[in-house]
Symmetry: C2
Subunit: 366 residues, 2 copies
């Protein structure tokens, strides 16, 4: 573990954390069942709702983002429920697997890696499934750098069905707009180590009245991820289970900072640095995997020229430039690299990443 050298960590989360926030992370423990924690929890809960423009319930769970995704499923899906799973990459597939592990009868709508979901496909698939209980999908697929058209997808689901809308927003929330109430999203799942600029360890969810109603009708096994646990304890200003205090301290600060900046500006800031990344990449003649109109504002996927050893590329970029990039996952391994630009990112960090990438690509292909 080499914490001191501070490389330019440009994976799509965990994001590098500014010193002022790391100081909070290193804060002393407090009583998680005492008044200080209660005050922090209530304030954070209100702030989380504000970030999502929602009056729905919102909870903090000590887990990774996958825990939040599982919570969405475990509270709303029971055996043999018909579920439509829209999959544009690794995390969409993971969401489908979770639904299946809970007995869901999952229809997979798969897309080529680098593509977003097609709206007409979604409409016709919803129409073809009787008694559809939920549509589940990834908002921002960090494995490919593609952002699905969340507002439009939600609109279609509402037009065509009564299905619950469960959204994996792990790598989008806090960086890309999500209007939970206006778009009618039942459960949003996200995690602290992404645009929130906190260490990993806290997952967050919002829960609609409709998701609550469903949760009370089903008997799916669950305990740690049970919505009701979080709601019951929130009423007395407590977490149901001992929370990751260190991460909560950071998240408390980040939530407040984001709202003070205003979410409009936070989203604009993410769009600006993403635009900059794409523009600069093109100047280096690097090819971005997805089409421009669905390219993510939190992570950019760039194609590696053929015949380049992806493992060697990543290690050379690290060893020679102290830049840590994301590689491709599953079938994209060795075919792309990824630059994360969530949270507070400077143009210089993007420049450095692209100069490093371009230099190593040229060196290897020589």
């Amino acid at each position: 573990m080499n914490q001191k050298s501070n490389p330019n960590l440009r994976i799509p989360g965990p994001v590098p954390i500014p010193e002022e926030i790391l100081d909070l992370v290193g804060g002393q423990m407090i009583n998680h069942r005492g008044p200080e924690y209660a005050e922090m929890l209530h304030k954070m809960t209100d702030n989380l709702k504000s970030v999502f423009f929602t009056k729905n319930d919102a909870y903090f769970i000590t887990a990774s983002g996958t825990g939040a995704m599982e919570s969405a499923i475990a509270n709303t899906i029971e055996e043999n429920d018909n579920v439509l799973s829209i999959i544009i990459g690794v995390f969409g597939e993971r969401f489908a697997e979770i639904a299946e592990s809970y007995g869901g009868n999952v229809t997979r709508l798969n897309y080529d890696l680098g593509k977003a979901a097609d709206l007409d496909d979604i409409r016709s698939n919803i129409r073809s499934i009787n008694n559809l209980k939920a549509v589940i999908f990834t908002h921002n697929e960090s494995s490919t750098g593609v952002t699905n058209k969340l507002e439009e997808i939600c609109q279609i689901i509402h037009e065509e069905s009564e299905a619950l809308i469960l959204v994996d927003a792990v790598s989008s929330a806090g960086g890309i707009p999500i209007l939970v109430d206006e778009w009618g999203i039942d459960v949003v799942a996200t995690a602290s180590q992404k645009s929130w600029v906190a260490p990993p360890g806290i997952a967050m969810i919002t829960v609609s009245k409709k998701a609550w109603e469903r949760s009370k009708k089903i008997k799916t096994p669950k305990y740690y991820f049970d919505f009701q646990q979080y709601e019951d304890y929130l009423q007395i200003g407590q977490p149901p289970f001992t929370p990751s205090l260190s991460v909560m301290y950071a998240l408390d600060f980040s939530l407040e900072k984001m709202l003070n900046e205003s979410m409009i500006k936070v989203f604009k800031r993410h769009k600006d640095i993403a635009d900059y990344t794409r523009k600069k990449a093109k100047e280096f003649n690097l090819e971005i995997l997805p089409d421009e109109d669905v390219a993510s504002n939190t992570v950019t996927s760039i194609k590696l020229p053929k015949n380049i050893d992806g493992v060697k590329f990543l290690s050379e970029v690290k060893n020679k430039f102290n830049v840590i990039l994301g590689g491709g996952q599953k079938s994209l391994t060795g075919k792309i690299f990824r630059i994360g630009h969530m949270g507070w990112v400077e143009k210089e960090e993007i420049d450095e990443s692209l100069i490093a990438s371009n230099t190593i690509i040229r060196q290897i292909t020589k």
Copy 2:
């Protein structure tokens, strides 16, 4: 949130953390899928096994201790499995509830609060249940300050059945001896914020071959807590899901520190400070809830004199002495207070806690 005043935090976890460890907690993020993390993970896994004197598998899960308890259940219990649940307090009841939520047919063996489980009862209960699949219980019940006789209980279970032994060791492990292999424990569950002297956020489990065999035969819904996820990724030096890096940094240090000190000395240190706490409490004429031979070496429960308002007592101790004690839980609310002495505890901190308690008791009863 008042992190700076640093009160004498004497709840039974989270424990106060020394500055040198807090510095690690505040360390910068690293790539959790890179070689540095892999090295740390492998070392920590080996160290965790050493702490438990086991060759069983061992995993780190980003969750609270309840997550580890749920993992124990979700991987080994399926619907209608006969489970014997030995309950001596709040956390024993929680373990039973988790097993029931997963469809277990749970027989509850309940004891009065402040008592340990009776060995003859356990034997006769095991004999009376056909096809018993698992015995689940709390090693150290932090809600009452009682430690069950783990070795003896395990011996009886082995003599009388083939049942799996699942142990909630959240508040004992790392402070009170647990010889996983010698005593034949199938799953041990614990959490970072206790004797390990790290912040909350990481749960730990050990998994026996017998537990693995069982896990492969059942179809209980699970994903985040699935043993197999942790094993598959450990093979490539990775966590299945983004881990709480900040807590892992601390735990890495703590595990190494404990082994360098030697577990015998760690356990002795916990016994010594517990003996000191009990001796001093008696000098103040304070009555300890459990019998001496089952009193916990990680937390001491002390009876509050009748007619004392427990809420007022705790707030006065905090406001006048800056000491934060644990209160009673559920039916013990207002009837006891608890002093945590896990991890690195100085006699002065115990003195301060008892002087504060005694002074406020006298003031209130005046």
